[in-house]
């Protein structure tokens, strides 16, 4: 452990671009996951999807996807599509999709049924029902969960590289493999600083939205 000090600050300028790439991975993965979650949210909500087999099917898929940790997805996808950020983004997408869909569908099941009944009574079709009765009620929760998942993904994206899935973690792995512990210390400190910073920003943004 003593090998970790003093930190080798000379590597700091080299880390800027990988750190940025790591944040970009988190952003792209979360956005894709959140967008792909939309149909699953509707399918996994009892009050929108009336066909039991569709509803239970969607729920089962979401539960299944959630049991596998992000880093495991990343390790599998690295073996499948090769080392690099692409595997990391795919892993983040799948995991974000599962969490956002699960949490949002639970909120959706608790929305006020009034507007939906009113629109149904007025003869609105399913699409209009979703657009005018569901979306306005569920949008704040959806955005808030997406930000929450983004926060998790930022944390995870910094360590995804440890299994080869791109970003700053991959540099950490290289530094450790080459026994450059003093450089590894700086990478870890940058990671911790980034995580703390993003947490603080995310809390502010979530307070502004909800």
């Amino acid at each position: 452990m003593g090998d970790l000090f003093p930190p080798n600050w000379e590597v700091l300028p080299v880390l800027v671009s990988p750190a940025l790439q790591t944040l970009q991975m988190a952003l792209v993965g979360t956005t894709q996951g959140a967008l792909l979650a939309v149909p699953l949210i509707l399918l996994a909500s009892r009050n929108v999807t009336r066909q039991p087999w569709l509803y239970y099917g969607a729920r089962a898929v979401l539960n299944l996807l959630r049991t596998i940790p992000e880093l495991l997805y990343a390790a599998i996808l690295v073996a499948a599509v090769g080392i690099g950020p692409f595997a990391g983004i795919l892993a983040l997408t799948v995991f974000s999709l599962a969490i956002v869909a699960k949490l949002t569908s639970e909120s959706l099941e608790a929305i006020d049924p009034g507007p939906m009944e009113a629109l149904e009574a007025a003869g609105a079709n399913r699409l209009k029902l979703v657009r005018y009765a569901v979306v306005p009620q569920i949008l704040p929760a959806y955005l808030s969960y997406t930000l929450f998942v983004f926060e998790i993904n930022v944390r995870v994206s910094f360590v995804l590289g440890l299994v080869g899935a791109g970003g700053i973690g991959q540099l950490l792995l290289t530094a450790l493999n080459l026994f450059r512990y003093q450089s590894a210390t700086v990478i870890i400190l940058v990671t911790l600083a980034a995580v703390v910073m993003i947490d603080a920003i995310s809390v502010r943004v979530r307070q502004a939205i909800v």
């Binding site: 970009q24 049991t67 940790p69 390790a75 599509v81 950020p85 360590v159 440890l162 791109g166 990671t191």
Partner: protein
């Protein structure tokens, strides 16, 4: 309708501006990491092929996968226990209403926050470097991270207790230890137990991953299977992970419902 539109209108441009700004950031990010729709579509047949291979698991690996998973669960169990033992005293030092001194509450919270910032997998890499590969390193990584997260949750639970019994005992002349034993502990124990169970659920997932960096358990099998692209073995290990994690989640959730 026109009146409603007038009421909605002022905020509208903000939403569109926000969405536009986000789209720009998204495209910039996607370029930065060289992700494109074309690449996703190109990759789909490969991913589908691998998925099909994983869906036909190699059952001859069922036994080894299961014993690997047992080690992972043991790592999670021991790690959670270590976390509970270390978090317990720290939580009382950090809880505002029980802390012996305001400085101890502040300091305790900062220490717990600091511990929590370190991801388990980075801790695992260190412990693997220090103690060699194996379940011990995994247990220590999980134990240390759990100390931070459990300590924070325990402290929050302590801060919400009813001050009534405390005041009553103090008024009756009970000393600090007796007040703690008879007024504080009975109030927090069920919640501590529920929080620890929840942490155990999280840790049993984390333990499966730590093997990827050499910290023992089913992750070790996974790494080897992935190295040799033995997708049927990966599929088998995944089935075991999914089954055991689901079992633990269900059992733990049922227990927690009875506790709180």
């Amino acid at each position: 309708m026109s009146r409603e539109a007038a009421l909605i209108e002022p905020g509208r441009w903000k939403i569109w501006a926000g969405a536009g700004l986000f789209a720009v950031v998204f495209v910039w990010s996607a370029r930065g990491v060289e992700a494109s729709l074309a690449r996703f579509i190109e990759g789909l047949p490969l991913l589908a092929r691998i998925l099909v291979l994983m869906l036909v698991p190699d059952w001859s690996w069922a036994g080894r996968s299961l014993s690997g998973m047992v080690v992972s669960v043991q790592v999670a169990l021991l790690g959670t226990t270590v976390g509970m033992l270390l978090a317990f005293p720290l939580a009382f030092l950090a809880a505002r209403n029980i802390a012996p001194h305001p400085a101890s509450s502040y300091l305790g919270k900062q220490v717990l926050n600091l511990i929590r910032t370190f991801p388990e997998i980075i801790l695992a890499i260190f412990f693997v470097a220090a103690y060699g590969p194996g379940a011990l390193a995994g247990m220590m990584a999980i134990g240390l991270h759990s100390t931070g997260s459990l300590g924070k949750l325990y402290a929050e639970a302590v801060e919400t207790i009813d001050p009534g019994p405390l005041e009553a005992l103090r008024a009756a002349g009970a000393n600090r230890i007796k007040t703690f034993w008879f007024a504080v502990l009975p109030q927090v124990m069920p919640e501590f137990a529920a929080l620890s169970l929840y942490r155990f659920e999280i840790n049993s997932r984390a333990a499966t991953v730590l093997g990827l960096v050499g910290a023992g358990g089913i992750g070790t099998i996974m790494v080897q299977a992935l190295q040799f692209r033995r997708w049927e073995v990966v599929g088998m290990a995944l089935i075991v992970i999914i089954a055991v994690v689901t079992l633990i989640d269900t059992a733990s959730a049922a227990l927690r419902r009875r506790l709180v």
